[in-house]
Amino acid sequence: MPSLKELSKKEELISRGHRLCPGCGAGIIVRQVLLATDVPVVAGCATGCLEVATTIYPYTAWKIPWIHSAFENVAATISGVETAYRALKKKGKIDKDIRFIAFGGDGGTYDIGIQSLSGAIERGHRMLYICYDNEAYMNTGIQRSSASPMGCHTTTTPPGKAIPQGKSENRKDLTQIIAAHHIPYVAQACPAFHMDLIRKVQKALSVDGPSFINILSPCPRGWRYPANKTIEIAKLAVLTGFWPLYEVENGKYRITYKPRKRRPLREFLEAQGRFKHLLREENKQFLERLEREVEEREREIFAKAGEQI
């Protein structure tokens, strides 16, 4: 594992000048993921913020081979690229060692792309799928996805008189759904814990089979916070238990970062405008519901790793 100092000297594989918003978690995540690679990489992107902001023709921010075809199919597309690689390598037409990474947002992964992803990892392609989870459809303007937490404001779940809580349903636990495929490596990561993230990407790329990392990707526009707070908020997500950092390696769970003292969820929520309504006295019951849900999910993961929160 190289040190941060060594990593800082590595060539960046995604260039500056892309058009992601200031403070966008996705750009930070891609940078960290690509820093973790040391063999040639081919990347794919689902339609979404990352794709539209990094490849506006005739420009591209990607210094590696990159493909986008549609919203719901990055896993299938990359599975085709990876299969072509095996076919051509077998025939001696390629001699290099190449790794494959698919990037999708939560819309492209939790929702519209879940079938394509499930199919691809069940088939065992050697590919790493990275979900940058910003918890809503940010590219189209902050609509709810199945990754949006209960109680958040999105433009399709606005809090109102009849529905004061905003989004009524709990988020889907995608990382656990992927873990249920029993693939060699599954993890949750966060850009505020960059060495943890990079280590996970390296592990994922080293396994001979499919791997998946779900990475929380704070979004200043959608989460309603100042652009310079991304890493701070990402960190709070982990410290409050909202986003536990763990990995599942060949079925074995391990908590990769255990906060010394669990901070109250409120601290994570208060830092963002999307939960503003939830913190009002009259919506206390919804706040408590979210707190219970977050704690239950965290407890469940910790138990699988043989630990307690």
């Binding site: 040639p40 081919v42 794919g44 794709e51 539209v52 490849t55 506006i56 023709y57 005739p58 420009y59 591209t60 990607w62 210094k63 590696i64 081979p65 990159w66 493909i67 986008h68 075809s69 549609a70 719901e72 199919n73 896993a75 299938a76 597309t77 990359i78 599975s79 085709g80 690229v81 990876e82 299969t83 072509a84 690689y85 095996r86 076919a87 051509l88 077998k90 025939k91 037409k93 390629i94 290099k96 190449i98 079938q115 394509s116 499930s118 199919g119 691809a120 069940e122 088939r123």
Partner: protein, 393 residues
């Protein structure tokens, strides 16, 4: 030496794929295409091909994986029918606009709903504007010949376009016929090696495939795509002639049958062309001459060649095995009529919608069309522009 075998349409499609030996096949089963996937899977299991096969979880992923594989630099193939093709819809356009020469068998089947598993052309006709080249096959022999030619057509550097080889579900896909097969080596030499200029896997020359293309460039890219498919007729004809040299069977955009003998013409595509030819021979014995113009290539539409072929004709019946809801007749009819618009002397043109959902089309139906044509010639009038064959009123 050519081999002669008795094979179904699906079997011969799989056999052509075995000889083509693509790098990647990504496919999902659907009736009546399933036997292609099954037979090809056996070839893979028996080590008779070098192909890496992806047994995807849907047709959407089948086409997506083909897009990935072909972009990577592999020769990629798939096969589907009806709802499977419909599920691929979004990615069909992407395959064509990325200029990926994927070859796909489309075993024609009626689109739902209601669900129906039998033949009509509503599936591939619906995909006519997706940018794919479409070749229709009359019988098992043509499936084989068309698939091999399709590889060479699509991969031509002037085109780089995906190709659908269409054939009628059950009627041909499950009908056993005599087929002449070429030697493996002859096929492989004919199609050559696929050497794309810009493979994604060339990591030393990284490329971005599929960027966001807005109002400032998208239009020019579409224009290039239009101009590319416009070049296809010459290349299809050239490949058809080259194929004739190795097989004795030469192909063009259209096929004429008894056309010179008559000023009455039936335009038809797919397996019904065979029924029509048999009917014409029967009518000939009764002293009635009607010509057949079979459309082999529907995309790009051979309007020039159709115009030429119909010069001096008096009445033309266009047969459509699909409906275009709300349009003036079926898709072949509207395009044939449009092709004739500038002609000073136009034939009278009449449309027949037939065989939807696998409804049988018999010699008697074709005879009715022939007699209608005789009547149109006699009266100089088309009573109903759009007619239905074999439907209960």
């Amino acid at each position: 030496m050519a081999r002669i075998e008795a094979l179904t349409g699906d079997e011969v499609a799989a056999e052509a794929m075995r000889q083509i030996n693509p790098d990647v096949v990504a496919a999902y089963p659907i009736t009546p295409q399933t036997e292609i996937v099954q037979n090809f899977s056996q070839f893979v299991a028996d080590g008779k091909v070098d192909t890496e096969m992806i047994r995807v979880e849907s047709e959407h992923s089948a086409m997506s994986a083909c897009v990935g594989a072909a972009s990577a630099g592999a020769r990629a193939m798939t096969a589907t029918s009806a709802n499977g093709l419909a599920l691929m819809w979004e990615i069909l356009y992407i395959a064509a606009s990325y200029r990926l020469p994927i070859v796909m068998s489309v075993v024609n089947r009626a689109l739902s709903g209601p669900i129906n598993i039998h033949c009509d052309h509503s599936d591939s006709m619906g995909a006519r504007d997706s940018g794919w080249i479409q070749i229709y096959s009359e019988n098992c022999q043509e499936i084989y010949d068309n698939l091999i030619q399709a590889v060479k057509i699509g991969e031509n550097k002037k085109l780089l376009l995906p190709v659908m080889v269409c054939f009628d579900g059950f009627i041909i896909s499950h009908g056993t016929e005599r087929v002449e097969l070429l030697e493996d080596e002859v096929v492989r030499k004919f199609i050559g090696e696929f050497k794309p200029d810009y493979p994604l896997l060339d990591v030393d020359h990284p490329l971005t495939y599929g960027p966001l293309d807005l109002f400032d460039y998208y239009f020019e890219h579409k224009r290039q795509q239009i101009e590319a498919i416009d070049k296809a007729p010459d290349i299809i004809e050239q490949v058809g002639r080259d194929y004739g040299r190795i097989s004795g069977r030469t192909y063009g955009l259209l096929e004429e049958f008894n056309l010179e003998k008559s000023d009455l013409v039936i335009i038809v595509t797919g397996s019904t062309a065979g029924t029509a030819k048999a009917t014409i021979l029967e009518l000939k014995e009764q002293g009635i001459d009607v010509g057949i113009l079979k459309i082999r290539v529907f995309r790009p539409f051979p309007y020039q060649q159709i115009k030429e072929a119909l010069k001096g004709k008096v009445a033309v019946a266009v047969m459509d095995r699909s409906a275009s809801f709300g349009a003036l007749g079926g898709p072949i009819f509207t395009e044939v009529r449009s092709a004739l618009y500038e002609e000073d002397k136009k034939p009278l043109v009449v449309n027949y919608i037939y065989g939807l959902g696998g409804r049988e089309t018999t010699v008697e139906h074709i005879k009715k069309v022939a007699h209608d044509l005789l009547n149109i010639k006699k009266t100089g009038k088309v009573e109903n522009l759009v007619n239905y064959l074999g439907v209960r009123e």
